[in-house]
Symmetry: C2
Subunit: 358 residues, 2 copies
Amino acid sequence: MPSANPADDTAAGGESLDILALLERGRTMSTPVLRAAVDRLAPPMDTVAAYHFGWIDAEGQPSAGDGGKAVRPALALLSAEVAGAAPEVGVPGAVAVELVHNFSLLHDDLMDGDEQRRHRDTVWKVHGPAQAILVGDALFALANEVLLELGTVEAGRATRRLTTASRKLIDGQAQDISYEHRERVTVEECLEMEGNKTGALLACAVSIGAVLGGADDKTADTLEAYGYHLGLAFQAVDDLLGIWGDPVSTGKQTWSDLRQRKKSLPVVAALAAGGPASQRLGELLAADAKSNDFDSFSEAEFATRAALIEEAGGREWTSQEARRQHAVAIEALSGVDMPEQVRTQLVALADFVVVRKR
Amino acid sequence: MPSANPADDTAAGGESLDILALLERGRTMSTPVLRAAVDRLAPPMDTVAAYHFGWIDAEGQPSAGDGGKAVRPALALLSAEVAGAAPEVGVPGAVAVELVHNFSLLHDDLMDGDEQRRHRDTVWKVHGPAQAILVGDALFALANEVLLELGTVEAGRATRRLTTASRKLIDGQAQDISYEHRERVTVEECLEMEGNKTGALLACAVSIGAVLGGADDKTADTLEAYGYHLGLAFQAVDDLLGIWGDPVSTGKQTWSDLRQRKKSLPVVAALAAGGPASQRLGELLAADAKSNDFDSFSEAEFATRAALIEEAGGREWTSQEARRQHAVAIEALSGVDMPEQVRTQLVALADFVVVRKR
């Protein structure tokens, strides 16, 4: 379990030194292979993809951009070690999962009209919608290519799992879009959507290295249960950061998810809670949905909504939900034999996901 | 070789009865499996995809829409027979190729701003850009799923070939988009782009059934050579129909490719030819590129450009190129052992592709 007070065992960003090393290993081992894969793309797609990954800036100059937290590559490498294989065995899996993740970011940012990601303009803003579509497509194809060119039976099984996860990712985005046009979304619908959008690919990251390392389907399925619930814990924390996160850490605007009228967990939980704050919140959000002035709302207006969500219990419920999902994830791990050190690291990574600040 | 006068051996649409039966077999055997695959998509993606395939209209009512020529499914079934397998063995390959083809149509129509396809409004016009992106993504994922769930080594090999073809398809679209912004495109560049956009997936259609039926890589590669050149012949004819085709048959506007300023084969060949007509055409197209009135051009203005393309030899060159590619395709077939009846049908299909009117 994460400690009640993150300051007890973590650095300022919620990251202990062990976790930093684990994330760094994932990044260091997978990035060169990822870059080599992206370099295969025909111009100008290679440049657009390099911009998306933060390797170059909008003018094409090398950049030491923020490549994200790299939780998935770290998991894919640990996953190989679960099966008793070297972490290297998980690298094509780590790269394939990152490619699918970034394919979905490119397309989702365009569909959602999001202008910023990782403190930078999104690809469609810089290079136009066509390039965002095209490079997303190319990364998706490349993900399968990186796995299938291994030419092994295990690679075929890994690709099948990645394809299943990709379909769920797309289902989740479809749900996310359809929920935007609905006045009410239940907590269950929100959890299902987040399970598809975040849980499925994290689950795949945790099974893909093991499958490449020869693990059987039962082991892979159990690892996916850990990853799925870890993904839901991850997303619950993301939803908290999307409203109450520090813009300096998250790289997003203040009240980011409220500005986008996202029906995230804290919002749907607050609306479902009942009571005066819940009711007042419901009235405000219903009026917001019809408002023409929404885009010129002041900080104070978003602060009012955030306070109502908190008062109705949406913040506390989501925080508890992160811990519930964390506990289910840890519990799933007991169903798989693995080296004790690998288990410790998977537990530590789950703890990190719940206490992180970005 | 196709006859000099298509009327000699073909029906009004350039289709002999044998070819009609072959195309019908591909359609009849693959469509139920394709529909079952599309039915797996979560709402509203299933409905949007059904609209795209012409199974329902914009109001959701059943429709007997035009599903296209279905050359690819016919080829995938013949492909299985090349390997001595039953045509049924090629069905998952036919479905996967159709899914990839339609994924690319959905995304390309959006990127290119094309409002009409197969006599109907395109998906992004009816259901919006986000659905066109999302459903395209879903069809692409589904293509891999349909193959990989077979769970065989052959399915893994088939998926790898499909992935390679998909990447080329995306490369071709990237080239197509970049050429739009350039004043001059060489004939070689145009052929490379068309090889990627059309040749690669047709090549895959011709190898995928054989691979699923157990053919070795050498056989599959040779079949792909036939398919690739068949694709180039197909595209050369498409480029002719895109300028001089009968709108009633093609379902496109008159001078369709000229209206879209497409640098298709007849155009680039005419520009490369030299001479007065070629030069005059170059001046006109250069002026068109800067014109603000292009969208209100009259029929006569497009007719002038078409006449110059023809006078400069672009029409004749493209027609000959279709025959050259046809001949190379047929020649490639001699490198593969196969039942004589299958060979006859592959030859007949190649003949059809060159004489078709739509």
